[in-house]
């Protein structure tokens, strides 16, 4: 068998069923008008013709998970004596993410550096990541707002994927990316894909050219520190932001989280749940002090994290995969690519300063401006 497989379109359900034999298969399914990754079953409607509304990040990094359960126990002979029992159960089944887009898969690589490639790896993420096979579908055409090619990705970028599929008229060309992915070629319904490889590559190249690059001609955006640190800039560009968490929760690369104890009587769990740097509460301290009290500061941190801080730590890798969801689904159309584009032009400070009237303060406050 060659290095390339081929899955005829009519066999896609059989393929998924085969995968589902020894794994939970998450596939993009139609739910009302939107597409979500759901454990696949016969009753569901597969939807592969556009990226899912939410990335598959919750499969490996659930929105809320129990880090451990605790239980207070009283000694039977002495009710004054109380001990605590902690139970951390990281049991994870084998999982497949089917039909993720390359940007989604790349997102997991952003997470890997933080959660796994560190001296304090996160066992929960790691276990799920190890147990998950990521089968990606390359994009034949861009989606509204997306810009993967501008942040080091592309519609057939393979980073993060175990298998890359490319859609042709009659089926999908299947290219294993990792050793783990190679096993998929052995599945019954997979035919030899070698004859189609060229066509697939053609599709991929065509798609690559169609994706917009807001930062062109730069290969990767370089951010002007002085504009980045200029408050007036943020006040102008994110005045309309409503400070919700849609962008971060739909982002394949956002990973900020919260840890809380949720308790019943005498027992409970320590829960890790997604959090959003756009929320006021995110950094609110017990004293009432908040180091990032305004949405401007919070938005700046979000952009900074993706385009400055993360690259600083990880050899220039931008923590944005250009999927465009934050743009598409933003309640007020805040466009991060536009903002970053402004930021990379080092001569714009004057422009930003002059567009504000002399001596006036920003008029649109955050919800908690002081």
């Amino acid at each position: 068998m060659s290095d390339t497989g081929y899955l005829p379109k009519e066999k896609i359900k059989d393929f998924l069923k085969e995968l589902a034999k020894d794994a939970v298969v998450y596939a993009p399914c139609l739910e009302g008008d939107i597409v979500l990754f759901r454990p696949f079953s016969e009753e569901r409607t597969l939807c592969l013709d556009r990226p899912a509304n939410t990335p598959p990040k919750s499969v490996i990094y659930p929105q809320s998970e129990t880090l451990f359960a605790f239980q207070y126990k009283k000694a039977p002979e002495d009710h004054q004596k109380m001990s605590v029992e902690l139970k951390a159960d990281i049991g994870v089944p084998n999982m497949v993410i089917f039909g993720a887009r390359p940007c989604d898969a790349k997102g997991f690589r952003i997470y890997d550096r933080v959660f796994i490639e560190t001296n304090t790896p996160d066992p929960y993420y790691r276990k799920r990541r190890e147990n998950t096979l990521i089968v990606t579908l390359s994009c034949a055409a861009p989606s509204p707002g997306c810009f993967c090619v501008a942040v080091g990705g592309g519609p057939a970028h393979k980073e993060g994927s175990d298998v890359m599929m490319t859609e042709l008229e009659g089926g999908y060309v299947i290219e294993p990316v990792t050793e783990k992915g190679r096993a998929i070629l052995g599945k019954h319904v997979i035919e030899d894909g070698k004859p189609y490889l060229k066509d697939a590559q053609h599709v991929q190249a065509k798609a690559h050219d169609e994706v917009r690059n807001p930062f062109a001609p730069d290969e990767l955006p370089k951010i002007s520190q002085s504009l980045f640190n200029f408050d007036g800039f943020w006040e102008q560009v994110v005045g309309k932001c409503v400070s919700c968490g849609a962008c971060t929760y739909l982002c394949p690369t956002c990973y900020c989280f919260n840890i809380t104890d949720e308790q019943g009587i005498g027992s409970g769990e320590r829960v890790r749940s997604w959090d959003a740097c756009m929320f006021f509460h995110f950094t609110l301290e017990a004293s009432g002090h908040n180091p990032r009290p305004t949405k401007f500061q919070r938005f700046k941190n979000r952009v900074g994290h993706k385009f400055i801080y993360y690259p600083e730590k990880y050899e220039g890798v931008i923590a944005c995969c250009g999927c465009g969801r934050c743009i598409r689904y933003c309640p007020v159309n805040v466009d991060i690519s536009e903002i970053v584009n402004y930021l990379k032009d080092t001569h714009q400070e004057l422009h930003w300063a002059s567009s504000r009237k002399e001596g006036t303060q920003p008029t649109v406050g955050s919800t908690k401006d002081e």
């Binding site: 207070y72 009283k74 009710h79 004054q80 109380m82 019943g264 009587i265 005498g266 002081e370």
Partner: protein, 653 residues
């Protein structure tokens, strides 16, 4: 946290149907509970002592007592734990008696319910925070509203105790209903003869400031510091000049003014002094009748007045009185005759009310004490008294007994016989209620010594027949129809709340029942207190009562005020609303809903606008807390988290 749980047997009251030992054992399993025990009578002195000992020995920091209703003993146990050094708000009670052991028969179910109840209390007490009251100065001045016998007694007792008293009376003279009575039962002594000296005492007491012919406009503040706006209604007579000589009244050409004092038995003058013993004995003009006001010309009184006291331009005057406590003695009202279509609804002049009859009997009344019936001023020979005219009649909205009618009917019947020896009185009654000292003997005397005929039954109709009034009713004892041809019919109309009682209650922030009578703090144990601290009740404003009861309450209310004022500083209840200024967004919805205007807007140093609770005004209802969308204003001791802890203990526990 080290919670101690004390389960009370209450003798067999609880232990009889709740397995208290098992409840205690279950509590010992709860995290945070380091001590749980059951005890025969936790509220007894040894029981309380045990709590104190356990707090010290076991180093307890929060206490749950599962026993009777907290309405019964919460204060007891709060004091107990306070004596042991804990903040009083570290106590929670679980009501396993009234709410469990007394109402459920199945011991198994009761025990399970008790376990839940105590668990809830434990869950809540773990969320409790220490609260500290702050203290504030008391203005040792008391206002008495209402100058009837109850109010006068209260005013005199307070004043004799050295307090400054402001007495506010709505009508031109103090004296109230009692001043209108002829004689009082069961002693038949002259009402005004015993009341008059008291009225003079009030007038002459240097500690009493009297605002007659005045009403309450507005009451602000809180116990110890009330500000009351008193409206001194225009009398059109300068009382500083009026000597009460009565010349104006004599010469007044308007002779058809309604006589409030005599309940319209006869007309009076447009300028009048209500009655000879009035305090203050001053004239006032009734502008509804005075020709100067209705026609724009007359001026007779102004011409005649030897001191030039008449002032037609006079306006109402508002004075503000600062007081520390208020005694409400606003008395009662009476059912109108027009409520009784079957009795002629006030159309027949010879069907009158009991109080009107009092005035007819009274030597200083319109008939100078001669019993003359209103229609033709002849002496009636057959008089019918109808008791329960409205009282105890659900259909008329007066399901209650008016308390003293049975007694005054007997009195009036006796007096009638004295005045007109050849008269015959009949009394239609439902039951004769005469439970007071010497009362029953009195009603018997009416029947046995004065030949008053008592007919048990309701009067169904009264209608005229020539000069007579036919009173038709049933004799339920004989089971026959009865008809009496009477010269005069006296209805013992129902006692109702004073006109405007509800409005007054709202100004005072006290509760009133469906009938408009004011509600006391506790029907047995706190009969003169209200739920608004610093406001006390005396007399019939709380419910129909006779003279001795009213006087007794007047004295009781006075002693309550004395006790309150025995301290220079008062402590505020710390279980009030508190604003977390970090969370408050300044929407001020709480300001809108606070029933007490206890919340105002405040600007913080950083310019942020937030809500602020005026501690001394907040009554602790928590309406603000359930109004606030962001949980920023929390009623202490009943915070969202405290109530959620209880909800969770039930639903998730």
């Amino acid at each position: 946290m080290r919670v101690g749980v004390f389960i009370c047997h209450c003798g067999n009251n609880i232990a009889g149907t709740v397995d208290v030992a098992r409840v205690a054992a279950e509590m010992r399993k709860l995290p945070g509970v380091v001590y749980a025990t059951n005890y025969m009578y936790t509220c007894s002195e040894p029981g309380q002592e045990e709590i104190k000992q356990a707090i010290k020995k076991e180093n307890l920091d929060r206490i749950v007592v599962a026993a009777c209703s907290p309405r019964m003993h919460e204060n007891t146990f709060r004091k107990t734990i306070e004596k042991a050094g804990l903040n009083r708000y570290f106590l929670e009670m679980a009501n396993i008696r009234e709410h469990i052991s007394w109402i459920g028969e199945d011991k198994e179910l009761n025990t399970a319910k008790a376990i839940d109840a105590v668990k809830m209390a434990v869950a809540k007490v773990m969320k409790n925070k220490p609260l500290y009251s702050s203290s504030f100065k008391v203005n040792k001045r008391v206002m008495v509203i209402g100058g009837g016998v109850a109010g006068m007694q209260a005013a005199l007792d307070c004043a004799d105790g050295g307090l400054d008293v402001v007495l506010v009376e709505k009508s031109p003279s103090i004296g109230g209903m009692m001043a209108r009575l002829d004689k009082t039962f069961p002693t038949i002594d002259c009402s005004i003869c015993i009341l008059g000296p008291k009225m003079v005492d009030v007038a002459q007491h240097e500690k009493i400031k009297l605002h007659a012919y005045s009403e309450i406009d507005e009451i602000k503040g809180y116990v110890g510091n009330y500000q009351v706006k008193v409206r001194k209604k225009a009398t059109y007579v300068d009382w500083t000049k009026c000597t009460g000589c009565g010349a104006c009244m004599e010469k007044c050409p308007t002779r058809n003014a309604y006589d409030n004092f005599n309940f319209g038995v006869a007309p009076t003058r447009a300028i009048n002094i209500p009655f000879p013993q009035a305090i203050p004995k001053k004239a006032k003009i009734d502008p509804a009748f005075c020709r100067q006001f209705t026609k724009g010309k007359c001026g007779v009184c102004a011409k005649i007045c030897p001191t030039g006291a008449i002032n037609y331009e006079m306006q109402d005057e508002i004075v503000t009185e600062d007081v520390g406590a208020i005694i409400v003695a606003t008395g009662y009202g009476l059912f109108d005759l027009d409520k009784f279509p079957e009795y002629g609804a006030g159309r027949y002049p010879d069907v009158i009310t009991g109080i009107q009859y009092e005035r007819i009997l009274n030597a200083s009344g319109p008939t100078s004490g001669h019993i003359l019936r209103p229609s033709d001023q002849t002496e009636p020979k057959t008089i019918v008294f109808v008791s329960c005219a409205g009282s105890r009649d659900k259909s008329l909205g007066v399901p209650y007994c008016s308390n003293f009618c049975c007694m005054y009917i007997a009195k009036q019947a006796i007096l009638t016989k004295d005045h007109v020896p050849d008269s015959q009185s009949y009394v239609f009654y439902m039951d004769i209620r005469s439970p007071g000292k010497g009362y029953d003997e009195f009603t018997r005397r009416a029947q046995e010594d004065y030949g008053v005929k008592y007919i048990r039954g309701r009067v169904s109709r009264i209608y005229p027949k020539g000069k007579k009034m036919v009173v038709r009713g049933a004799d339920t004892l004989l089971g026959t129809q009865v008809e009496v041809e009477a010269d005069l019919v006296v209805l013992a109309t129902a006692v109702v709340s004073a006109p405007g009682a509800a409005g007054m209650a709202e100004k005072l922030h006290i509760s009133y029942d469906t009938f408009g009578f004011y509600v006391e703090s506790h029907p047995k144990l706190r009969p003169v207190e209200t739920n608004t601290s610093g406001v006390f009740l005396a007399g019939a404003c709380q419910g129909p009562k006779d003279i001795p009861a009213s006087v007794g309450q007047g004295s009781a209310a006075a002693s309550k005020v004395q006790a309150l004022f025995s301290k220079d500083m008062l402590e505020s209840d710390p279980a009030i609303a508190q604003v977390n200024t970090n969370a408050c967004v300044g929407c001020l919805k709480c300001v809108r809903t606070c029933p007490f205007q206890a919340i105002k807007e405040e600007e913080l140093r950083n310019g942020k606008k937030v809500a602020k609770v005026i501690e001394t005004v907040c009554a602790g209802c928590g309406v603000c807390t359930s109004t606030c969308p962001c949980g920023a204003i929390q009623l202490q001791h009943f915070t969202d988290n405290q109530l959620l802890a209880e909800v969770n203990a039930i639903c998730q526990g």
